[in-house]
């Protein structure tokens, strides 16, 4: 009886880890989208700027809460040998070290962005903003972590959801780049004001951002096709042998 209960709990934790991870991805995607919309100065009479700003803030906090539950359940669950330190120190876990490590990197970046935002007024605008750029690194790293460790990556709706998130963020970045180009050209003075990067040095920054925003999705899709979507990924990803011996009876896979 106790054994059955323990097994059920383990399954519950493992499913919670997977579920909260996916929800966190969706929330972080929403947060990134709102951040891009906010900095781009988009607003409508029925959707003023403080709504975007407030939603960006609250969605980020909610996403962080889900990430914390995601990590806690992954550590507490006994199916995968993941320790508390693995949540913040990357690439040392016996379980899928690289792909779990990316999650730790993303979490560290998320913490940096979160903490600097909470003490923004003490920190000053430019220092806060410099750290906040890490969001653009945090998000794709978190996505690749999800696709690389994800038990559910090859499930069609999870794959569609992940690719949908990727497409949405890439579209938002392109919109922002297009818009700041208009601002730089002086076509829309109202936009130029909200585009601090609109200068000659801004051109190279925008060009680099465009290259990255094209490269990242191409590389992610190519890697997906060559890696996680090919049979035998869980072995190649670095799952300990003890966790693979009974794939049919285990809660994960």
């Amino acid at each position: 009886m106790g054994y059955v209960l323990a097994a059920t709990n383990t399954k519950t934790l493992w499913y919670l880890t997977r579920g909260t991870g996916l929800v966190a991805l969706v929330l972080l995607t929403g947060s990134v989208l709102l951040g891009v919309v906010e900095v781009g100065g988009w607003a409508r009479p029925a959707w003023p700027r403080f709504v975007t700003a407030g939603l960006h803030r609250n969605l980020s906090l909610l996403a962080t809460a889900f990430v914390v539950v995601h990590i806690a359940t992954a550590v507490l669950d006994s199916y995968a040998p993941i320790g508390w330190l693995d949540a913040v120190v990357p690439f040392h876990s016996p379980y899928r070290p690289l792909w779990l490590g990316l999650g730790a990197v993303a979490f560290d970046l998320l913490l940096a962005v979160l903490i600097t935002s909470l003490v923004r007024r003490r920190l000053g605008y430019s220092a806060w903003k410099a750290v906040h750029w890490a969001s653009y690194a945090c998000w794709p790293i978190a996505l690749v972590h999800g696709l690389g460790t994800g038990t559910d990556t090859s499930t069609s709706w999870v794959l569609a959801l992940s690719l949908g998130c990727l497409a949405a963020v890439v579209a938002a970045v392109w919109w922002r780049l297009w818009q700041s180009r208009l601002g730089a050209a002086g076509v829309a003075p109202g936009l130029a004001r909200s585009a601090p990067g609109a200068s000659t040095s801004g051109v190279s920054v925008r060009a680099a951002a465009l290259v990255v925003s094209v490269l990242v999705p191409v590389l992610v899709v190519a890697w997906l096709l060559a890696g996680p979507l090919k049979p035998g990924w869980s072995v190649r990803a670095g799952t300990p042998k003890s966790d693979i011996t009974t794939p049919t009876s285990s809660a994960g896979g």
Binding site: P48, R49, A53, R121, G124, P196
Partner: protein, 67 residues
């Protein structure tokens, strides 16, 4: 111990969130930059003033304590 609003005009980029969040004392000029009404802020409005100051994207709206 009343509070007073001030704008750092070097940092202000005219995002306009402050006027949306604290219209009791802040309006916008035709270019979108804030105009601060110097009427003293009563205690019950302080929370709104603080929220406006916290929401400023460039931290240009300052809430100062007057003694």
């Amino acid at each position: 111990m009343a509070v007073k609003l001030a704008v750092n005009w070097i940092e202000c980029k005219g995002h306009g969130l402050c006027a949306q969040l604290f219209p009791e004392r802040i309006s916008l000029d035709e270019w979108g930059y804030p105009i601060i009404d110097p009427t003293p802020i009563p205690h019950q409005l302080e929370a709104h003033a603080r929220r406006a100051a916290d929401a400023c994207p460039t931290l240009a709206l300052l809430l100062q304590r007057e003694t």
